[in-house]
């Protein structure tokens, strides 16, 4: 559905396949039958957005509703944006080619903080007013969901309505309410007031915030009937929860170009740095029957020859071996591979390894996260050096020679000794290879260590913690480098500059709206990409707004501070997070949900592992 004006641009840009739509299984509807047009926007480029499972689920689900047409919109890369702006072509949806401005509902998924500038830029490219207060009519309603919506405050000026928690039901409820208001010519104001009554919906304009002199929040008050606390939505029965039987199959290669089955939601582990481990509680599994059926349908309808069994920790699936047996009964004949993206150090058994080996041999990645046992106890990683060495020995015995290890730098209580521990652990893995009696002959080992900088996130036991300053992170990175003495170890890290900004927006409040607006005014975008991110530019923006980013990133909060996201409830109690924080400082671990219930509060959601017998 691309018009000639756009076509003229396509040969002037890289990868025009990003901008043309028309893929297998994309949904085209007749506008005459449609009452609600929904633009599902991913604030990053096509290849990244098209890899996202949540978008695939909600795209298919919304399109099952006869009166809704859900289309996809991605952020164009800079070359295409330049062409579009020069030629006055608004940002358009891939299915109809219509401008984003023509849509009833413009929905964004918030996967990472550094995409916030893209959200503004995408609205701007279609001439949609950025601030919700400047959008007066019911149409062009801007909504957002996804993990970053757990602290929606930095985007409160721009987004009319947030979905808190899992979207499968609440998205449809809001769309239905929207249709009712559109039919009766209702106002945006009345619609938002009504929508705020739906569980899992947060309308930021219905709340007033005041601040203390020290800059922290004093009061946070709902107006009218808006709820004081917004509870997340959760899909308790994954077998009954909607899952698409087909994906849009892109022409061009995307980041994760395969069929994906979500085998479980939530995580039993409770690693103290991990937001996903808390906000997706309780742990729920999909049945083998449902996974098997969904994988068959997806492969049948897409032609993919690879299935990814996705989750926060796939080796925690209680019947993982049975599941693989069931799938491999048909995938081998169909020349279809299975990949397990999230394996735990302690979940890599000999049996599992043999199965993975039979399927496809790629590198193995594990995440010990910290270099010493003390620090692993602090973060509740519950993985020992012994387990890691046992696992890599299993892998070496099975013929693997490449191991990738993920670590974090800047965790609470971390010392230079802990940093050295990363290099020591990697060295022990290298040594284990050379001491292995059955190591692959004539091959060398490669141990990649990737060290990202710790970003404290809301709804974790570390939500009160300061982030290390960029200088400290750099010093620790240098120390790590000087501690590595083997050429078999290949270190790499994420830029500390980006992590700093991520930390600011992750725990930001409404005052950051002005910062985002100014950043957008200065043309900033694609901040998740190193080609575009500039700390210098961000610092200038903060300075011009009179806001100190260190207040958000590097400040230790007290337990009694009113946090910007305190009105959002993910089931896990704040008091539990405080207890966990104290246990971290005491080097005490907490058992996982399968071993014992630690009374985090998620049982109030009445489902999953919280109600199963252990």
């Amino acid at each position: 559905m691309i018009d000639h004006k756009i076509e003229k641009l396509l040969l002037k840009v890289q990868k025009p396949g990003r901008y043309v739509g028309g893929e297998l299984n994309s949904v085209i509807k007749n506008k005459k039958d449609i009452e609600v047009r929904f633009a599902f926007c991913f604030p990053d480029i096509y290849e990244v957005g098209m890899s996202h499972l949540g978008m695939k689920i909600l795209y298919s689900q919304l399109n099952e509703v006869p009166y809704v047409w859900c289309e996809r919109v991605f952020a164009p890369w800079a070359d295409m944006e330049e062409q579009m702006r020069q030629n006055h072509i608004p940002l358009y949806a891939l299915e109809s080619g219509d401008s984003l401005a023509d849509f009833d509902i413009i929905g964004f998924t918030l996967q990472y903080e550094m995409s916030y500038t893209n959200l503004l830029n995408m609205l701007d490219m279609a001439g949609v007013p950025l601030k919700s207060s400047d959008r007066r009519s019911l149409s062009q309603l801007v909504v957002a969901g996804g993990p970053c919506a757990c602290n929606p405050e930095p985007l409160a000026d721009f987004v009319d309505l947030f979905f808190i928690g899992e979207g499968e039901e609440v998205d449809c409820e809001v769309v239905e309410l929207y249709r009712d208001f559109k039919r009766k010519n209702g106002t945006k104001e009345d619609f938002l007031a009504a929508a705020a009554q739906i569980s899992g919906v947060y309308v930021p304009s219905l709340y007033d915030v005041t601040y203390k002199e020290d800059g922290t929040i004093d009061t946070f008050q709902p107006r009218g009937n808006a709820p004081a606390v917004i509870h997340k939505r959760v899909m308790m029965d994954l077998d009954k929860s909607y899952f698409p039987d087909r994906f849009v199959v892109p022409y061009i290669e995307i980041v994760h170009d395969r069929a994906v089955s979500e085998v479980l939601r939530g995580c039993i582990r409770g690693c103290r740095f991990c937001q996903a481990g808390f906000i997706y509680r309780p742990f729920r599994e999909k049945s083998i029957d449902a996974i098997d059926r969904q994988c068959r349908d997806l492969c049948e309808n897409t032609g993919y020859d690879e299935i990814s069994l996705s989750s926060l920790s796939t080796s925690d699936y209680s019947k993982i071996n049975d599941l693989l047996d069931r799938l491999m009964a048909w995938t081998e004949d169909r020349k279809t591979g299975i990949s397990l993206p999230s394996l735990r150090v302690d979940g890599f058994s000999n049996e599992l390894m043999k199965k993975i080996k039979a399927i496809r041999r790629s590198g193995l990645t594990f995440a010990p996260e910290a270099g010493t046992q003390r620090l692993r106890d602090v973060i509740n990683k519950n993985v020992t050096e012994e387990e890691l060495l046992k696992t890599v020995n299993t892998a070496f015995g099975g013929g693997w020679t490449t191991i990738k290890l993920y670590f974090m730098i800047g965790l609470p209580t971390e010392t230079l000794q802990d940093v050295e521990g990363i290099a020591d652990l990697a060295q022990k893995v290298v040594d284990a290879y050379y001491n292995h009696p059955n190591k692959p002959r004539g091959k060398s080992v490669k141990v990649s260590i990737s060290a990202s900088s710790f970003v404290p996130k809301p709804f974790t036991p570390f939500q009160w913690e300061p982030q290390d300053t960029i200088e400290t992170i750099h010093a620790k990175q240098r120390h790590l480098l000087s501690s590595i003495h083997s050429k078999k170890i290949e270190p790499s890290w994420h830029e500390a500059d980006t992590s700093f900004m991520e930390a600011v927006f992750a725990r930001g409040d409404r005052r950051l709206g002005a910062v985002l607006l100014e950043a957008h005014r200065r043309g900033m975008k694609m901040d998740g990409w190193q080609d575009f991110f500039s700390l210098q530019k961000w610092l200038e923006v903060f300075a011009s707004c009179g806001i100190d980013p260190a207040f958000y990133a590097n400040r230790k909060r007290s337990f009694d501070e009113h946090l910007p996201w305190d009105h959002i409830d993910y089931g896990v109690k704040k008091s539990f997070l405080m207890e966990e924080c104290k246990r971290a400082y005491a080097n005490k671990t907490t058992p996982n949900c399968r071993e014992a219930c630690s009374a985090c509060g998620a049982s109030c959601l009445k489902g999953g592992i919280c109600v199963e017998s252990r």
């Binding site: 396509l10 396949g17 022409y251 290669e253 897409t302």
Partner: protein, 219 residues
């Protein structure tokens, strides 16, 4: 094992799909359609797809082909066409399956039809402007080759090119060298219009046929 030639159209959005992406898209469609492909016998078995002559990005075609190797239990031509079409996006449509007659290496020329939409002038004006321009002694444009960008004179290749008014637009029919022994992309004609006449009309380019060195159509 049997080699068959699959004939398909590449239109609409599919015009903007690179050859590499087309290759992957077709492999996936074979898999989805359960076509009994012959796989290489190596450690990482893969199917064998060969395209006669990759279509440059942005050009559509009503008659593209690729060869593939089937396992012995061959399915019928009709069955194969219908299965593939349910597995492919609508802008890639299979319309025939044949036994290969000529080898892709025999391709020597390709014909193209270029429809230009005039922007600020009439079709008549644009047509005569282009006709005059084609009388120039040389028409030099930059051309990407394996050894980098070179200055390339298009003029000697334009002797089988006609320009005429068609409705509101201008139609060019041209026959250009194609294949492994020298290939001239019709986009170069558009590059020349831009360089010499500062014209950048919307152009719909279709490859209308492939021929061997005696002018016989490739089949």
């Amino acid at each position: 094992m049997k080699v068959v030639r699959i004939w398909f159209r590449k239109t609409g959005a599919a015009r903007y799909i690179s050859h590499l992406d087309l290759n992957r898209c077709m492999s996936r469609a074979m898999h989805k359609a359960n076509i009994p492909l012959w796989y290489t016998q190596g450690f990482n078995p893969h199917a064998f797809l060969t395209f006669a002559l990759p279509l440059p990005l942005g050009i559509r075609s009503e008659r593209e082909c690729m060869d593939l190797k089937l396992d012995d239990d061959v399915i019928s031509r009709e069955e194969m066409i219908s299965r593939l079409n349910t597995a492919l996006p609508k802008d890639l449509a299979v319309f025939d399956v044949t036994e290969p007659v000529r080898k892709p290496g025999q391709i020597a020329t390709a014909s193209y039809r270029i429809l230009l939409e005039p922007e600020n002038t009439s079709a008549d004006e644009l047509c005569s402007q282009i006709r005059d321009f084609f009388q120039a002694p040389e028409i030099v444009v930059p051309k990407h080759t394996k050894s980098g960008i070179i200055d390339f004179d298009l003029k000697p290749y334009l002797n089988q090119t006609s320009v005429s008014v068609k409705g509101d637009g201008v139609e060019m029919e041209t026959l250009l060298p194609a294949g492994s022994n020298g290939n001239v992309n019709p986009m170069l004609i558009l590059d020349a219009l831009k360089k010499y006449l500062n014209l950048e009309p919307y152009a719909d380019i279709e490859r209308t046929g492939l021929y061997d060195n005696t002018g016989k159509i490739f089949e």
